[in-house]
C-alpha cells in the first residue's frame, strides 16, 4: 500500500464562525459542490449520452428516454412532457400537474416499464414507484423564455442572448425526490456504486439530464439547433421552498461532513507556502470572471439586488488582494483570507470559493468524505454533569436568547395538511403552533439546560423523568465528534431567514444565480455553463461562476 502524506493545513475556521445563518446564506458554489464532482466523473469516463426513445409530437408533448453510462451502470432519464394549462402552473408543493415529469431509471427501461413510468410520473406524489426508479422529479417551463426560444428557432434565428442571460433556463424543477420517496429506491441501493457514492449524486445526474432534455425539446419544437454558447448558458432552474431547510436540521452528521470538507479544503489552500506563476495567473482570471458573473447577476427583489450591487463594489476592492505582486510572499492565500476578514460575509465566502478553484489536486479528494455512510456514531453522554459541561462549552449560542420574548419565538415550522407542504407560521397570529415541527434545537437545548439537576444524575434516569429532552440531549452528544453539525442560530426567531439555509444547501449542490422571491423561497440555476453531453472531456471542469460566452 502506498503512503500518501496528508497535505499541510492551517487551523479550520471554528463552527462559531462558520455555522451562523448569515454566513451560510452567503455561500457560493465551489469545486467541491456536488454537480462539479459529478461532472468531473462523467468527464473522466467521457460518458456517452444517447436518446434511444423520442416519442415527442410537433407541439412538444410525449415522452423520451435518455441514457447515460456511469461507473459501469446505465441510467435512463424517462421524460414525460404534457400540455399544462396556465392556471395550473405553480412551483409550489401543492401543485397537482406540471409541464414535464421525470424518473431516473436504473438501467434501460423496456416498453412496459416506459408505459408504467409515463402513467405514474405525471402524478408525482400521487403516483407509485418501484426500486428501479431512483429519482422522481418534475419541471415547469419558464413560459416566456421557452416560447421565445422555440419561436426564434422556428423563424430561423437564435434567441436573444440578453433574454437567455436574464432567465438562464428553459425549465425549472420544483422537486427532485430521492431516497425512497413514494416507493422509489432507497439511497443505499446505489450509494456504493461508482459515481453515485457522494451525496445527491443521483439527483445531480437527473438534473443534468433534464437540462439536456429541455435543450432537445426546444430544438425539436423549433426545428433547428441552438447555438453552442446559448445552449451552454441554458442551465436548469429550480424553485425551492421550505422543504429544503428542515433537511439541514434533520441531517446533522451530513451537514457536519459537508462543512468539515469545505473548511478543510480552505485550510489546505491557506497552508500553501508559495504560489506558482500559473496559479497566480489563474487566480487573476477567476477573480475577473467572478466580477463578470456578479455584473450579470440581476434579480427582481430590490433588497437582494442591493446586496449584489454592494458585493460587486466590494469585490472590486477584494480583487486587489489577488494582484500578482501581492501573492508572491509566504502563505499568500492565508494572507488573502486575513485581509478579507473585515469584509462582508458575501465577500469572504466568494473569496473562499475562488481560492479553492485552482487547487483541485489538493482538495478534490476530500469530496469522498461528504457522505454519511454510518449515521451518528455518538453514544449518549454518561450523566447530566457531562451534559451540562458540554452545553456550556458548545451551545452558549443556544443559551443566550430569552425564548419567552415574542421576537425570539415568533416563527414556527410546520407541515400543512395540504399535500404536506412545509410552511412557516407566526405563532402569535396563526393556529397550528401546537403541531410545530421540532426544528427549534436552540430552544430545546436551553430548556434541557434549565431542567438539569444541580447534582449530576445518570442520563437514563434524567431522561426517564424528562423524555421530552431526548432530542436535545442527542444533539448535544453529537457536538464533540461532529462540530459542524448545528446551525448556531435561533431558527424560530423573528429574524431567522430560512432562505439562508436554502442557499447553503443549494451552494453545496452547485447552484448559482440565487433569485429570492421571499425570505422563504428562492429560484436558482443549476448546470449553467456546465458541459453539454458532447463536451465531456479533459477541460470540462472549468465552469465555476459561468459567464455568457458570445
Amino acid at each position: 500500500m502506498k503512503d500518501i502524506p496528508c497535505p499541510d493545513q492551517m487551523p479550520l475556521r471554528p463552527p462559531s464562525e462558520v455555522m451562523r445563518l448569515a454566513r451560510m446564506g452567503s455561500m457560493f458554489p465551489t469545486r467541491l459542490s456536488f454537480l462539479r464532482t459529478l461532472m468531473r466523473r462523467l468527464s473522466v469516463e467521457r460518458a456517452d449520452v444517447s436518446t434511444p426513445v423520442w416519442q415527442i409530437d410537433a407541439a412538444g408533448f410525449g415522452h423520451a428516454v435518455i441514457t447515460v453510462p456511469l461507473g459501469g451502470h446505465i441510467y435512463s432519464l424517462v421524460a414525460v412532457s404534457t400540455d399544462l394549462p396556465d392556471d395550473m402552473r405553480t412551483d409550489r408543493v401543492i401543485a397537482t400537474a406540471w409541464d414535464t415529469a421525470y424518473v431516473l431509471y436504473d438501467g434501460v427501461p423496456d416498453a412496459a416499464e416506459i408505459a408504467r413510468i409515463c402513467a405514474n410520473a405525471p402524478l408525482q406524489e400521487a403516483g407509485r414507484f418501484t426500486e428501479r426508479d431512483l429519482i422522481l422529479s418534475r419541471a415547469n417551463k419558464s413560459v416566456r423564455l421557452f416560447s421565445h426560444v422555440t419561436d426564434a428557432l422556428r423563424q430561423g434565428r437564435q434567441p436573444d442572448s440578453a433574454f437567455v442571460r436574464q432567465v438562464g433556463y428553459l425549465m425549472r424543477t420544483t422537486a427532485v425526490y430521492g431516497n425512497g420517496k413514494f416507493g422509489i429506491a432507497d439511497r443505499h441501493v446505489v450509494a456504493a456504486r461508482p459515481g453515485l457514492e457522494g451525496p445527491f449524486m443521483a439527483e445531480m445526474l437527473t438534473v443534468w439530464l433534464i437540462r439536456h432534455f429541455t435543450h432537445a425539446l426546444a430544438e425539436h419544437i423549433g426545428g433547428a439547433a441552438l447555438s453552442r454558447p446559448i445552449k451552454r448558458h441554458l442551465g436548469i432552474g429550480n424553485a425551492t421552498g421550505l422543504g429544503m431547510a428542515p433537511f439541514l436540521v434533520n441531517h446533522p452528521v451530513l451537514l457536519n461532513n459537508w462543512m468539515t470538507v469545505r473548511e478543510t479544503a480552505l485550510a489546505r489552500v491557506r497552508a500553501v507556502d508559495r504560489l506558482t506563476a500559473g496559479q497566480i495567473a489563474r487566480l487573476g482570471v477567476l477573480a475577473e470572471r467572478a466580477a463578470r458573473h456578479l455584473d450579470a447577476w440581476e434579480v427582481p427583489d430590490p433588497e437582494h439586488q442591493a446586496r449584489i450591487i454592494r458585493l460587486r463594489r466590494d469585490w472590486v476592492a477584494a480583487c486587489e488582494l489577488l494582484r500578482a505582486e501581492r501573492l508572491t510572499g509566504d502563505k499568500p492565500l492565508d494572507q488573502v483570507m486575513e485581509d478579507v476578514a473585515d469584509q462582508s460575509c458575501d465577500v469572504q465566502e466568494l473569496m473562499v470559493a475562488l481560492l479553492l478553484e485552482p487547487f483541485g489536486d489538493l482538495v478534490d479528494g476530500l469530496t469522498e468524505c461528504m457522505a454519511d455512510p454510518f449515521g451518528a456514531l455518538a453514544p449518549p453522554l454518561r450523566d447530566t454533569g457531562i451534559l451540562r459541561a458540554r452545553i456550556e462549552a458548545d451551545f452558549h449560542w443556544a443559551l443566550e436568547p430569552d425564548y419567552d420574548r415574542p421576537d425570539n419565538c415568533r416563527q414556527f415550522w410546520y407541515v400543512s395538511a395540504a399535500k404536506q407542504e412545509p410552511r412557516l407560521g407566526d405563532r402569535f397570529a396563526e393556529d397550528g403552533a401546537s403541531l410545530e415541527s421540532p426544528l427549534d434545537i436552540a430552544r430545546r437545548v436551553k430548556a434541557l439546560h434549565r431542567d438539569l439537576p444541580a447534582q449530576s444524575q445518570p442520563m437514563a434516569a434524567f431522561l426517564a423523568g424528562h423524555p421530552q429532552h431526548g432530542l436535545a440531549a442527542a444533539r448535544v452528544a453529537l457536538s464533540q465528534r461532529y462540530p459542524y453539525a448545528e446551525i448556531q442560530d435561533n431558527l424560530i426567531a423573528q429574524t431567522c431567514l430560512p432562505i439562508d439555509m436554502l442557499r447553503c444547501k443549494l451552494a453545496f449542490f452547485g447552484a448559482s444565480r440565487f433569485d429570492p422571491k421571499s425570505d422563504l423561497w428562492t429560484r436558482i440555476t443549476l448546470c449553467q455553463g456546465a458541459p453539454l453531453a458532447d463536451e465531456l472531456g479533459a477541460d470540462a471542469d472549468d465552469w465555476w461562476l459561468p459567464v455568457f460566452a458570445q
Binding site: 402552473r89 425512497g180 449515521g375 407560521g425
Partner: protein, 168 residues
Amino acid sequence: MSWSANELSGLVAKAARGAGAPPEQAARFAHAAAVHLSQGRAERELRSALDALPIGPVVDLYQCFTEILCQQDQSGHATGHVPAIAPEALIRSMAEAQPFALVAFGADPDGVRITWDTTCPNPAPPPGRCTISDDFAACLTRLAARTLVPESDASRRAGAGAGLLDND
C-alpha cells in the same frame, strides 16, 4: 404494496409523533420499524407499541438503551440487560437499528442481554423494502396526519413564501 425503507421509516416517525412520542424516541422507533419489517418480523408488535403511546415500549426501550450505552467500558463496549417490557423481536429490531455494531443479543432471565461496540459502525446492511398490510398503512397514515396543520387561506397564501401561480 412494496414500501421503501426510508419511506416507511419516515411515515412511522410521523405516526409515532402523532401518537405522542417525543421526536427523538419517535425517530429511533422509526428506524427500528424499518429493520423490523424488512426482517419479516410481525407488524402487530409495531402496532402495539404505537397503540401504547405516549408510554410503553417506544419510550421505555429508548430509556433502557440509553442506560446501557452510557455504561461503555474502556474498549467502547456497552453491555446491559433489557427487561421484558416489549416482545423480544421488537427489542432485537431496536437494538439492530442502533448506529453501532451489535455484538451480542441473547435471552437472559426476564429479558435480554445486549452488547454494542460503540467504536464500530453497524455493519449490517441497511433495511430493505417491505410490505405492510393496508390496515397498518391506514393506521400509520391516520396517526401521522395528527402532526399536520389544517389548511387555511392565510396559511396557503403566506405560509410557503411563494405565490400560487408561476407563469413567467
